[in-house]
Symmetry: C2
Subunit: 154 residues, 2 copies
DNA sequence: ATCGTTGCAAAATCTTTGCAACAGG
DNA sequence: CCTGTTGCAAAGATTTTGCAACGAT
């Protein structure tokens, strides 16, 4: 029960973030921690989380999920992304910036960082007279699995 | 009244795109053509267009604006972007791909292209096993005008 | 006991759709 | 004319908010 366990002790993690350790917040944080460890599905929407909680017989409202997500984002526990255009998805914020490539068939998301791209972005912002605050780079394509399926169908 | 005037003859442009030249479509296309020439405000939302038409005493419904925008996008006349997260904005599609940097203070949008970034994106997609279909790179920052204002306030 | 938190329902926002009236070719 | 198009109103989808009840300390 020490700080080294951070990341697996929802109650302590919440208190460290200055948030009361309530049932909804702990359950939601657990879902993110579990998702973080999984190969796929690190990115969850409010609806995803709500459905999972309901299926676990947790009595919760969708509004609460939204409120908790907002609080977690403000606390730097999670990050919000808008991939398509419609719904927001969230993933744990490990402090390391990264960009995404999203499969347009199955929705799978892979993450990457490219120092060269980051460097050129800074340069371009400077040239255009902007003080760069952030950026969002999302690429869209067909992942290896879906490409295989595509070939099999032919 | 010839093809060389394309870009300034809404009626002909619409027919070329396979769309009937109706009043709403012509008015909306004109708005985009005018916006295209302006230094600022090349990016318009459905609401922007609707308000402008209403202010010009054109009898039109917001639903029609949305329908026309969808048709124009399908016809390759305009491109849709999602900068923030909430509303979509559109700009004329000149056929040349470009990315955007958006001022977080005043909403001003500048466009740019960087061959090196494009090249590395292709490379990364390949490494991750994706067949790249597209990408969206938006940077966010404070533009030169807003930086000046910021300094004056201090 | 206190003050933040929750669930519910209602509202807000942006966008799409059903439908009868209308208009372009 | 005939079919596509429009305006209006209503529905959808996602997210936010008001409020009274509830719960952690």
């Amino acid at each position: 029960m020490n700080k080294l366990m951070a990341g697996h002790e929802p109650e302590q993690d919440l208190k460290n973030a200055g948030l009361k350790a309530t049932v909804p917040r702990m359950r939601i944080l657990e879902i993110f921690q579990k998702a973080q460890e999984s190969e796929t599905q690190r990115h969850l929407s409010a609806e995803d989380i709500y459905k999972q909680l309901v299926s676990e017989n947790v009595d919760i409202g969708l509004a609460t999920v939204y409120r908790v997500l907002t609080q977690f984002e403000a606390a730097g526990i999670i990050m919000r992304h808008y991939f398509g255009n419609d719904r927001a998805t969230y993933e744990m914020d490990d402090g390391q910036h990264h960009d995404h490539i999203v499969c347009t068939r199955c929705g799978r998301v892979e993450e990457f960082v490219d120092k060269e791209i980051e460097k050129r972005q800074k340069m371009i912002a400077e040239q255009l007279g902007f003080e760069l605050e952030g950026h969002a780079l999302s690429m869209y394509g067909i992942c290896s699995d879906c490409r295989k399926k595509k070939l099999e169908q032919k």
